[in-house]
Symmetry: C2
Amino acid sequence: MDEDTAKVFFQPSGRRGKVPKGTTIVEASRLLGVGIEALCGGHHVCGKCKVRIENGRIQEYDIDSKPENAGPWQAIESEHITPAERAAGFRLGCIATVRQDLSIDVPEESRPGKQVISKAARPIRIDHDPAVKTYCLKLPEATLVDPTGDFERLSRALEATYALTGLSIDFFALRSLGGALRDGKWEVTVSVWMDREIIRVRPGKAGPNYGLAVDIGTTTIAGYLCDLDTMEVVETASMMNPQIQYGEDVISRINYCFNDPEGLQRMSDSVVDGLNTLIEQAVSEAARHTGRRIRPADIEDVAVCGNTCMQHLLLQLDPEPLGSAPFTPANHSGLNIKARDLGLRVNPSANVYILPNIAGFVGGDNVGVILVEEPQKSDDTVLIVDIGTNGELVIGNRERMVCSTCSCATGPALEGAQIAFGMRAAPGAIERVKISPETHEVDYKVVGRDAWLSYSEPEEMRTRGICGSAVLDALAEMFKAGIVAGSGAFNPEIETERLRKNPDTEQKEFVLAWTAETAIGKDVVITQNDIRQIQLAKAAIYTGCKLMLRRMNLQRADRIKIAGAFGNHIDIPLALMLGVFPDCPPEHVSSIGNAAGDGCRAALLDRKKRQEADRIARRVEYVELTLMDDFQQNLIDAIHIPHMTDEFPHLKKKTKAAYKKGGL
Amino acid sequence: MDEDTAKVFFQPSGRRGKVPKGTTIVEASRLLGVGIEALCGGHHVCGKCKVRIENGRIQEYDIDSKPENAGPWQAIESEHITPAERAAGFRLGCIATVRQDLSIDVPEESRPGKQVISKAARPIRIDHDPAVKTYCLKLPEATLVDPTGDFERLSRALEATYALTGLSIDFFALRSLGGALRDGKWEVTVSVWMDREIIRVRPGKAGPNYGLAVDIGTTTIAGYLCDLDTMEVVETASMMNPQIQYGEDVISRINYCFNDPEGLQRMSDSVVDGLNTLIEQAVSEAARHTGRRIRPADIEDVAVCGNTCMQHLLLQLDPEPLGSAPFTPANHSGLNIKARDLGLRVNPSANVYILPNIAGFVGGDNVGVILVEEPQKSDDTVLIVDIGTNGELVIGNRERMVCSTCSCATGPALEGAQIAFGMRAAPGAIERVKISPETHEVDYKVVGRDAWLSYSEPEEMRTRGICGSAVLDALAEMFKAGIVAGSGAFNPEIETERLRKNPDTEQKEFVLAWTAETAIGKDVVITQNDIRQIQLAKAAIYTGCKLMLRRMNLQRADRIKIAGAFGNHIDIPLALMLGVFPDCPPEHVSSIGNAAGDGCRAALLDRKKRQEADRIARRVEYVELTLMDDFQQNLIDAIHIPHMTDEFPHLKKKTKAAYKKGGL
């Protein structure tokens, strides 16, 4: 073995290789193509580059990782790393160096390009018909003449006053029944689930009860804490899905379960812990914002949606069959599971409703989208594209509905996570870009500063990277300016010092921001590989949409709706021009935000939506796109920008100049 | 304070007083009327008299208990007490002495007179219709053409093959579904509860499944492990109810809950732990007896009965309302509770069925008795007397059914637990007695020896006490021999050295066995107080029966059935003569054993019995006897032996001599 290099293994990405001894861990991560967030550019000030040195042997790669292999602890690290973290092996990646072999865990928060999206709730049109309703009543006191037992006494009164018959009572609710009746002097507030089961009895006239709708995305979890009486969203909370430590996408999480017998349990525990944290967060934020004191026991109903795999992992259902043909889920129909069986810290008698799955890769989140968008009630044909970590597609109308998934993870590229200088929407992140077709000069705007570069001194910009909203922007501008050809390749005929070959990677790249404008001490660039990633993602979406339209025997959809975080910052005409979506008048294309979460909230607050969800899951046809004969050819064709001009009558005029410049 | 005496406080009986310093703890217990089992008579050999010295202050009685107050540890104690027990404060009561104040806990196993009754199962006539049934089926394998999810695929097949529709699946069963289908190559054995819920899926053609019927008595728990397919009782297991440490009877356990906020949880945990031990025991005994390897997961159904209080304590329902008027239970109807919610170590998806309660003191055990005896289907009027720790009464016929409870705990006296020399049916326990009306000499037989005293040398008897089956025997013989008058008082005119006054207690007593015949170094006697206890118990039963008959407007019942352990060793004509039961031709009086357990087994194996149980619980009228105007007078009248001769036409001839001798 070369005595001047050491082996480094990065988790969870699995990237590994040899780097020169003495390299900092941040540098090593760049060399091996792993992202570590280092907003300060290695100046030891931002503390974002925390990593954990593993202590132990990686048999497979003959790596013997020890904390001391990362060099001695330095005082400045204590400013960012707590003693407990230090004991657990944490170091700053910009200070710790590779002295001998290392296995390094890059925690989620130290990875660049992730965005915690505030999935705010939008108004939805539903009936107020929550699954859990409360009834206040006063019972005749038990006497020797009428010593009827508590439960039967309550049932009798519920029937007499509210015509509720044949109710059962949850075991845990029964335990508190006697105390509530006597504490309330025979006046109680009863929570009844689905007119079927008494799940809570509180003494006297009790305050409001709450419900929680949760959308578990592969990357982000969003929760809506709602007042079940007023339907008001009392608090919105979101967090990263903590399962990310076991794999960034669905497939890697399925593999993790497959390879580790404890894997499923561990991932289930981690998301349940995450949900419990989210609940605490929502409750304490609600107290801060509204002064409401909500106890976990006051959360009496929960509705959950996620893609099929996320739902499986939450419920600890083996996801392995989802990972290979025929991609069969454990269940389609919606489920009701006691909160205590799931380990959720809400009312233990609450029934957690899990939205139904359509297919192995089209889950409750898509059912949620359909629940609020209701293509099944529309005469127009609506195409819904949900771009989360994966891309899911639904097309349909009153007559027929078809769904499928994009052939690759689309979100990470389009949101900047797989882009060399991709970062979250934090100060210094480029969020808008303009490129002059004449001079090829770049103007841009960063998060946290109102003035564009052209109205600023370079050193005022303090640019750090590119965030999701600028990714398509940058590509479109490069394309319109002729810097990138329709094929996605950099145009070699363009003469500008911004287009150059990186001496280390031998890759072409285009400079968006010069070092002088940045806070990271280097140029911020878009690489040829970045462009390929974006092209692949948009081609996957386009091909999916096109094949779905063909399945419906249609040339085009009447409307396109873009769900998911990506939709929030997309420039629709630009996306159409780049061929992300099939042709459609831009005024018929709209962004609908986190429609999955909205649908989940609809199911929480209007129980008729739950029956509708089961009907939807049964009715929507699933198509496996990759099995279609000409899928590959379509995908390859769609890589081009814009690949078939005839399909874009609406854009022809607009982009004429661009086509010309682009060399098409 | 007298320097020669020390204060002693016994738990759980609550007896306390002063004893001379230097007294052994066993002696102290005798002085204060507390029972400690000491089969060897204090010869330091049996090790039965283990007690625990408490370390701490009993504020209320100004007792400062310390381990050293019981004198130094002696080597011989190590033969019976483990180091762990020693560390917990255990001593032998025949060795440890009272040096200073002591608070002493007498563990259940050191208390005399408890009998673990083998509640053997008798044949019952029911349909084979268990709540849990298994179905074996082969499913079409999932393919890309038919990728329907596992649960829906299974549901479809169950409907096609067995016409089962609309099934749900237990969450835990769903977790194992995917694995079972694939391990079994799409052939599975499915357990379905009540044609409603899939609770287990096993790969391939799987072996038998099992059910457990449990009768939780105040003193004894009996379990029947049954093959759900053949209805066969595979194993019977019984144990003491571990809640005895918190109180011997229902009222003291209710008080324990009332006085200690943790009390209910503790008692619930203790009976659940007990049931889990019982299950382990049944499973391992079944393996030994039948070679069957039954895993806890194979127990897929459980039915439980007990008196209302025992059912409340098991379910952790506050029993406090049961302890005072109007004695309202938490529920009447039968309940189905997931085994995992109860903490029972059987299949976690099993639904534990709890029999319905009739009233605060007439519970599921009585419903069980009615289920198998079916008075509601009889033209004759049947009186059922269930003598466990408490006595419960049911009288009825096709037209009407009434139930009630005896006014005091009846079992302990009649089974010997409250008798001075009462002991369990272990070797040396007197089990049959005869007394000559002429000489007043006693002949008897002990457990473990075939020959009666009259055919033995005195020292061969090794007598130790009196067990349950001899209690009524002894009283009847003393009565017939004129030693005891109809009032229950010893006849002072009888001349025999066996009848004497105890110099310590100033109480009269009759010697059944002389010291020479015993292994305990002292005479075995029946005291005047013993007779009073027996009289009170039989008067309570008699009065209850009589008032119930009056409620039915009847002079007598057509049949009397005696349920419970007591019935197993009762001499029916003798009991009638002593006035335990109202008059009835002896051939119409029968013992039906643990009918509650049989009824519970019926509900386990024939689910129609569960609906019937709810109908019974709703239909049977409950009467609170103590509220009847002339209850007290009736009770006093019934104290006499036999109290109203005219009511016993059947016995007149038989007992003529006895009456005469008895001085009536």
